[in-house]
Amino acid sequence: MRQALAIAADVRARRLSAAAVVERSLQALVADDHRLGAVTRILADRARQDARQVDAAIAAGRDPGPLAGVPYGVKDLFDVVGLPTTAGSTLYENAPPALADAEAIRRLREAGAVLVATLNMDEFAYGFATINARHGTTRNPHDLDRLAGGSSGGSAAIVAAGLLPFALGSDTNGSIRVPASLTGVYGLKPTHGDLPMSGVFPFADSFDDIGPFATSVADLRCIWDVLRGTDSSLNTGTEFHVAQLGGRFLDNVDPDQHAAIAGVAPGAPILDLPDIARARSAAFLITAYEGGTLHRAALAENAMAFDPATRDRLLAGALIPRALYDAAQDFRRTFKATILDCIADHDVVLAPAAPCVAPAVADPRILIDGERKPARSDLGIHTQPISFTGLPSLSVPLFRPGRLPLGLQLIGRPNGESTLFRFAAMLEERGVIGVSPPPGTWGEDA
């Protein structure tokens, strides 16, 4: 699968039809999916109809949009008209069908993109593993014996495998950035609240955001512009004040990430942000409380219908005392103000995205502070404190062909996404970051 903008350019110039692109994409998904466990539903009829409309628009001389004929998928928590929104759970398999597409899907459709599939996730987005009782475990295309990360693991894996040029996920505590890091693609968690959440199944309102996965900075920026309704290409500065995060961010880091950060910004000041451990703990508590509260009625009705991997966590979250939740929220307000002041003079702050390469499916644990911890809950050690601040964070893949992927976070000021894109584009041009296709997974063309 080629990159999104290359496909759109060919479709717009009539070198390819949207119908042909989508047909090949559907065939590839059918042929490959059981290997990855990334797809939950293939939307063949809808995709073919949308592709025909794109081709008809072009034939009639109308502008089909910047993503003309580009196939994509969404995490299984976006409303798709006519289908139940399951959030990866059997509990909602027979829910009433959505009456309209999620706003993000509507905007992408207007831009010519063609939705072809819904994608696997941890049930209700609660986890960093994409181990799902209903749909199975999503495998990492770089090594099928390893996890793809989560909770947007299906979205990351399908893009990393070259089966789709982009996908949408959601990120509450790192659910875009962690799987992006583990599968070696780009993933954006935008400034909190910046992209439309209408028609997206919630997890924890305090931190929920949606965002795209893609295989190039240019693709990611274009998708973000479409989702946001802006044109970030007008932002053209090339001077960056860069810093890196110290403290816990350097305690649990792969040596290659450390070396890459030093290489990207030699001499960049190290920011020892205060109270990072407290921030992660507060985020953990807020997420558990909001998730438990959201599902409390369903838990009361039939807790055993939940995925075994999430039900105990949700039940525990529902039992957190309200006063503790309020204390965590009070701390969050103070912490945010402090962090904004700390990073005020920096355009980009560098940090690891996940603390390690993808863990094994057979032993989903990772080393944190010298102890083996569950990947499901702890892969987000470096992303969770950033979500807590609401700042935008772009996960970028270090360019390391033939090796398991590792990612960095480029963290920006509020609404500083276009600066992050420019910085990432510079690193991509230098060959520091970039997607390394898994062996034998990417076809020659669309």
Binding site: P269, P274, L319
Partner: protein
Amino acid sequence: MLLGELQRLLRRLPFGRVSTPRSAPPVAPSDDDTVMPRTEAEIVQAAEILGLIVPDACMPGVVANLALLDTHAVILLGRPRRVGP
């Protein structure tokens, strides 16, 4: 004001490790309000108040998860918590 400006200048220096002030003193609501249910009896009681029944099959997992959440509560509140029922 002057201190803030100085910190900003320091952050721009190459090779500088910038120590930043702690963001906030530990939050301190009263112990009773924030204590997590930990024993099976406490969990059953807290669940009943919310209209929940914790199935037997879930109890070990709920106990383990509440223990984990309690470690986060200790970190957040910055003080030791009571141990045992």
